[in-house]
Symmetry: C2
Subunit: 234 residues, 2 copies
């Protein structure tokens, strides 16, 4: 199956503008695409679909791409079917997944991704590329009909992966403990991608790109690190 | 309605044993109770119900109380109905709530709480005292039939409340941003209780106890702090 995805931990790295660190990559990625359909459903900080689409538009204007928010279409399934390129932004994964089910676009979105349409996800938009959204960091502020997601990857994502903070006296679970709890109930591997890195999916090949290493969690194994440039084939 | 609850942010504070900081309080709280029914369903770190019950037993033995795990009863509803005292431990709120629905004990648990049976909750066990579990920090590692919880409080809890870490370069949402996103979709007030504090519910009075202040989030208002000793009556 042809596939062409960039699955990023974060839209924004510290001290830099929205998508800025990814723009050189995105220029190549979307080279055959003038217009990108933006899925603004995750509504970071509760902003509106229009406000969110404006933010994405401004960033993509710098590389000469036109962004159209999916929310303005009457027939959103048709809009996905006709998309030359797709971008799903971050925010709250529960809100995003709920809206994807409500608008019934998941099958069309999955089909487009498996046909090789360039797809960029950041944070919540990356989470939905996994088998389920169950390793999101977000609060369950809405109740989606299911936690199942697109399954463009044979594992789950934990975006904004965070190492335990040295010297912290906080007793809340670390990210690693939370993923360990996930594996007490599920067998799906989890890839913790740190801010500044992304997974590049080209057909059957999944490669870690960007600066930091990633942390891999497989049920029954000790977690381990992989370097940037690594092919993920576990 | 008579009510008698301790709703704690955490079971354990840094550098101290399980429940240690709360034991003097619990000695008075459970003074008319020899035996406490322990709800171990949240399974912190994926440990078994038996293992978790052992941990709780050891702590309560220090104040002469006997702990019985709810999981050993054939008729769990009857066990709740007959309970002299109840304690729900922390762990994963999704796993806990899923099991509460699966065993069908929520109505009995609610009835007991509204009859004044002493109830202690820590972390996930505190979350379920709110109107919904939607301000948990946990990962959605199981899919519960609903996010509705006991509603012993007229608001939601965010346990292990965490202030933004000064100088952090991490771009993942802060706790405050997450709760703000909750209020983009919901009107329920949220009380962020920091580790080392708890809410004491005596009939209609809810009071903040312990050391740190708590942070209150009401939709459409700026978040604000309340001191220990404050009565929560918003």
């Amino acid at each position: 199956m042809p596939k062409n995805l960039i699955i990023a931990s974060t839209s924004t790295i510290h001290g830099s503008g929205y998508l800025e660190y990814l723009l050189p990559e995105l220029e190549t990625f979307y080279k055959n695409t003038d217009t990108i359909i933006f899925i603004p459903y995750a509504r970071p900080g509760g902003i509106s679909h229009d406000q969110y689409t404006d933010i994405a538009s401004k960033a993509f204007k710098k590389i000469g791409k036109k962004i159209i928010g999916l929310h303005i279409f009457t027939d959103t399934i048709e809009a996905i079917e006709n998309a030359e390129g797709i971008f799903t932004g971050g925010g709250n994964t529960f809100v995003l997944v709920n809206q994807l089910y409500k608008t019934n676009i998941l099958p069309a979105l999955r089909k487009k991704i498996f046909e090789g349409t360039p797809y960029l996800g950041t944070s919540a938009g990356s989470n939905i590329c996994g088998l389920t959204m169950q390793t999101t960091n977000d609060m369950p502020i809405t109740y989606p009909p299911s936690f199942k997601t697109i399954g463009a990857l044979p594992f789950n994502i934990n975006p904004h992966y965070l190492d335990p903070i040295k010297g912290s006296t906080h007793m809340g679970e670390t990210r690693e403990t939370r993923i360990k709890e996930f594996h007490a109930h599920n067998t799906i591997p989890v890839v913790g991608i740190r801010e500044g890195s992304w997974l590049e999916v080209k057909n059957q090949t999944i490669q870690l790109k960007g600066t930091p290493t990633a942390r891999i969690f497989e049920k029954g194994k000790a977690p381990y690190e992989i370097d940037t440039g690594s092919i993920l084939d576990f």
